[in-house]
């Protein structure tokens, strides 16, 4: 069996470094955006451009299908020596993918002038310049600029200012893998033909659009089938000259598999994996450049594995071997991020989540041997991608908790746990029928989806609640320029109660949410017209029946069509609690004085600053005073965004997938009444207490989080930090029971940072950031920062011994 080390050697890590201006250390600046061996793949852009030039004047959806076909026919394909599951998106394993048709200016700038210089050589740079000349005026972003032209509102609120970050970021959406594996692309093609026949009879009013779409979908499916056969030919060719008999056998198996899938229904585990990977690769990296996986892996793959085992075709070891080789493919993927986005996705390659566990559409537990195989693979590979999400429900077996804990204990950061008991009812409230709500999955890190359902471009941006509070304390006027940028709320000096502060805050939220969604909605129309996706549509539910691209309709039964990611919940709650306590309860300071101190970034009143830090109640300590406020912040802001619907009538929601936004939006948020200084980060996840402010241990954090109404809130994210020894040996049982209590408290999500010595060393240097880090050494617990240096050193060295 191939080992993780052997596979790792084949890898080029493509994580992006955080290089956003003003935030990088000198060291980071010198290192550039990517590791030196990483390149941008040029072929996709090259063939896409060639095809576009040939098809000008044709219907857009046909042009997209032809472009896909042109790319797939001409692109370099390769099979690396370690591969058994094949499929590549660019000309070499060192390449990242780049969405030139979506937006190109920021990449060109990065590559030609700034932090991305190493990504292309001179010849490559010249070609990129050449391609960009063609796309100038034609990329979605260029067209969007034209769409915004002449509208000062759109122009003004599109610019990044810090209250929200809107971007040309991806549409996710999870292909209907179950259907793909069951009937193959050939089966889907037959459905398209059938639908074409049907409209030829019924001649609907949009006959022309439907016909174009269906013909484009058929064309793209044939292109993908042909592409797979290219791999079969390649494998046969390699097998012909292969000396090693074992590798020869593997290559022959690849050839047979690629001749069979994704065209036909999958019969074996290997065929199922291959079919899935081909379709993933085309939909995520070739037809459109995006990220995420979203498959319910054990649910889809378990039956194929079982059949193979029963037929004696493979052993468990064989399956593990295949899975490891699949895993390394995900770890090797990489996306060309702009410099601005690198601030949000610091360290990210792609965000690709595989889902295991949970209930099926009928409510039965899905755990099967594949569930455990995924965990075993993850534990052995220790790759950052794919990220594993594990759904937990009342019937989750204890064994699964145990095995998941073993993986979490490695410190790799996953599986990330989602709670069916919270999320299924939430999705029902949002409009999904029970069976569909039970089928939810995460596509990116924690982007919630219902697999197979239309999910194109759900995300409307990253929204900064803390900044909205700041605007409320400044009547929506930027004190530096005097400009009325936010809503003209009341003069805060006149606030008589905390309720008035909250009202003004909510008014700002409403104002900015509208601005952000207006930009998103106009942009979506641009996408609908200029970036149809015939292949992804063909493998998405509802498109063939309607004869429509997935950008052109919304399923009325889909609860999660639209969302915006919210950040800074805990900061707002802590800030409101501080105002309530110091201004209205104790009357220690007036509203006006407080704002004056904030505007000076606490300078001149360190005593007040310290008092607020140490005496104001903070979310995460099971203190009703602030926890109730936090619940209010969650529920009320969700209520506000739900006031808005898209053009199909589907409501917007908030979401907790903050990624590293807390850090990046925080940089543009001045001092806030919770004690944050100007530019400090925000809380690291939607449900997390502010970093360092939860001092009563992990049970108090959950008790606070349990007070956030899961039904009136949204899909949340909660980070918890544990030391490795809390998850190992005799403590493992305790940890598992802690997880069960988390489930019983109906908290939507939890994930763990299991701290290593590196963090502890950082804690030595910056104790103020780690005031809540508990260490257990003897029969005694202590806050790490309260210990002497020598003792800290001793704990660090013991942690390294791995107990």
């Amino acid at each position: 069996m191939i080992t993780a080390e052997e596979l790792r050697k084949t890898l080029t890590i493509k994580g992006v470094r955080n290089v956003r201006r003003g935030m990088e250390t000198k060291d980071d600046a010198e290192r550039g955006m990517y590791r030196p061996e990483v390149r941008i793949g040029m072929e996709r852009g090259r063939f896409l451009t060639e095809s576009y030039k040939m098809t000008e004047g044709e219907p857009m959806v046909i042009r997209r299908a032809k472009a896909l076909e042109h790319i797939l026919r001409n692109m370099t394909i390769y099979i690396q020596d370690h591969e058994c599951i094949v499929g590549n998106y660019a000309e070499s394993p060192h390449d990242i993918f780049m969405p030139i048709d979506m937006t190109w200016r920021s990449f060109r700038r990065a590559v030609v002038e700034e932090d991305g210089k190493s990504l292309l050589d001179d010849k490559g740079k010249a070609e990129l310049q050449e391609l960009c000349r063609y796309w100038d005026g034609k990329s979605v972003r260029d067209i969007q600029v034209k769409a915004f032209e002449g509208c000062p509102q759109l122009d003004k609120y599109w610019q990044y200012e810090g209250t929200y970050l809107w971007s040309h970021w991806y549409g996710l959406g999870v292909p209907d893998y179950e259907k793909l594996l069951k009937i193959g692309l050939k089966g889907i093609l037959a459905q398209i033909e059938e639908r074409l026949q049907e409209i030829r009879n019924t001649i609907p009013y949009d006959y022309f659009q439907q016909k174009n779409f269906l013909e484009a979908a058929a064309m793209s499916i044939k292109a993908v089938i042909a592409w797979a056969h290219r791999y079969a030919d390649k494998a046969r060719e390699l097998a012909g000259s292969e000396k090693n008999p074992q590798r020869k056998k593997e290559l022959e198996a690849i050839a047979a598999t690629c001749d069979r899938v994704p065209e036909n229904p999958a019969r074996t585990f290997q065929e199922a994996l291959q079919s899935f990977y081909f379709v993933h690769c085309v939909t995520r990296q070739i037809e459109f450049v995006s990220t995420g996986i979203g498959i319910r892996f054990d649910l889809c793959m378990g039956p194929f594995y079982k059949k193979d085992i029963e037929a004696g075709r493979i052993t468990r070891g064989d399956a593990l071997d295949l899975l490891k080789r699949l895993w390394i493919k995900f770890e090797g993927q990489g996306f060309a991020y702009s410099q601005t986005l690198s601030g949000i996705y610091g360290g990210v390659q792609t965000l690709s989540a595989m889902n295991i566990g949970g209930v099926d559409r009928d409510g039965n537990d899905v755990t099967n041997e594949m569930t455990y195989l995924v965990l075993d693979t993850a534990k052995e590979m220790m790759t950052l991608q794919p990220n594993i999400t594990l759904r937990i429900h009342k019937g989750t077996p204890t064994e699964l908790f145990n095995r998941a804990t073993d993986v979490i204990a490695t410190g790799v950061g996953y599986p990330s746990l989602f709670n069916d008991e919270a999320l299924v009812p939430l999705l029902q409230r949002w409009g999904s029928p029970l069976e569909e709500a039970r089928d939810y999955a995460m596509a990116g890190c924690v982007y919630i989806e219902i697999p197979g359902k239309n999910g194109h471009r759900r995300m409307a941006g990253y929204f900064n609640l803390a900044k909205c509070l700041w605007w409320a304390l400044h009547r929506g006027i930027n004190p530096k320029t005097g400009e009325q940028y936010g809503a003209p709320t009341k003069d805060p000096a006149t606030f008589k109660s905390i309720e008035e502060v909250m009202d003004a805050f909510l008014e700002q939220v409403r104002f900015f949410v509208h601005k952000m969604i207006q930009i998103e909605e106009v942009t979506r129309s641009v996408y609908e017209e200029y970036l149809p996706l015939p292949f992804l549509s063909a493998v998405t539910k509802g498109c063939i029946e309607r004869g429509k691209d997935l950008g052109s309709f919304k399923d009325p039964n889909d609860g999660i069509c639209n969302y915006a990611v919210a950040a800074g919940q805990a900061n707002v709650a802590d800030a409101l609690a501080a105002i309530r306590k110091f201004v209205f309860d104790n009357k220690e300071i007036s509203m006006k004085e407080l704002i004056a101190v904030l505007d000076k970034n606490w300078a001149g009143n360190e005593v007040l600053h310290q008092k607020i830090l140490t005496q104001a109640p903070k979310f995460g300590n099971n203190d009703d005073y602030v926890d109730q406020i936090c619940n209010f912040v969650h529920c009320k802001t969700e209520e506000i965004i739900e006031e808005i619907a898209d053009k199909y009538g589907a409501r917007y929601h908030f979401d907790g997938s903050v990624v590293s936004t807390g850090y990046s939006l925080g940089a543009d948020t001045p001092a806030t009444p919770d004690g944050r200084r100007d530019g400090d980060e925000l809380s690291d996840a939607s449900l997390s207490p502010m970093i360092g402010r939860d001092v009563k241990g992990p049970t108090a954090v959950l008790a606070s989080c349990a007070k956030i109404d899961p039904l009136k809130g949204y899909n949340q994210l909660l980070n918890q930090r544990f030391l490795p020894q809390f998850l190992k040996g005799a403590n493992k049982d305790v940890f598992v029971n802690y997880l069960k209590s988390w489930r019983d408290l109906r908290i939507p999500h939890i994930q763990f940072n299991v701290v290593d010595s590196e963090t502890l060393r950082d804690a030595q240097k910056h104790p103020e950031k780690y005031t809540n880090l508990v260490v257990r050494v003897a029969g005694y617990s202590a806050y790490f920062v309260d210990l002497s240096k020598g003792l800290q050193d001793s704990i660090i060295s013991r942690t390294e011994q791995g107990f």
Binding site: L702, V734, G779, Y780
Partner: protein
Amino acid sequence: MNDGKGLIFNIQKYAIHDGPGIRTSVFMKGCPLYCKWCSNPESQRAHPEIMTYDIRCISCHRCEEICPVNAISFNEKRRQIDWEKCDNCFKCSGECPSKAIERIGNYLTVDEVLNEVLADEIFYRNSGGGMTVSGGEPLLQWEFVAELCRKAKEKGIHTVLDTCGFASWNVMEKVLKHVDLVLFDVKHMAATKHKEGTGVDNELIMSNAGKTAALVRTWFRVPLIPGFNDSPEDIRKIAEFARSLHIEKVSLLPYHELGSSKYAKIGKTYSMDGLIPTDEEKLKTATAIFESHGLKVEKER
């Protein structure tokens, strides 16, 4: 005492080494023993006191201004306390904005403590945990502790008493009625050695250990103090004693100077400075000896 209130210096959530499952540990302040190696020196005095955290101090001088006995002064910008002068009036800790001076020890009612404990009930249920009363020495405040345990049990909470066993049996018996499991600290079998390390004789403790084990489920807790009780001979004697009482389990606490930095924070000096923490070998040897006596061993790290 104090209208039935108890003097408590800490309530620790997610305590996972003070008995089975996820527990809340209630630390009672005041102890009749003065173990030289004590890692919670702030638990020893039976009255509230101040504790200082220099790293948090912002040198605002508010404490200096308010101290009625002029116990606080500044030396090259660092705040200093004259511990001799301080009479624990807590004016400074009330005034300090950054918790650089904190009051240790608060008088709480049984119900106040119980509410804190009940907040984590859902965690006890899944993990088989509950409440542990520890210290200090809980039996110094036996009436409070007995009532706390009684009420906790009434609510279905599993109760553990962590004790050094230095109390009259009369008193102990009254508390044990409401206790499901006892963590009984055993430091040394030889009376003179015991007195040298803890300040008290071990006769009463030994006799209480026997009576306790006969009455309630009992585990031993043994701190392994280098050079004091970690020789194979010392360990063997404790192991024999444990076996003779049919003790269910022995928890070993390897010595660490973890508490040493706290001594200065409350104006005490640490007498064990420089003592090397228990090494893996010693721990293994001790474990082997206990196991050879048929005892289950748990290492607390």
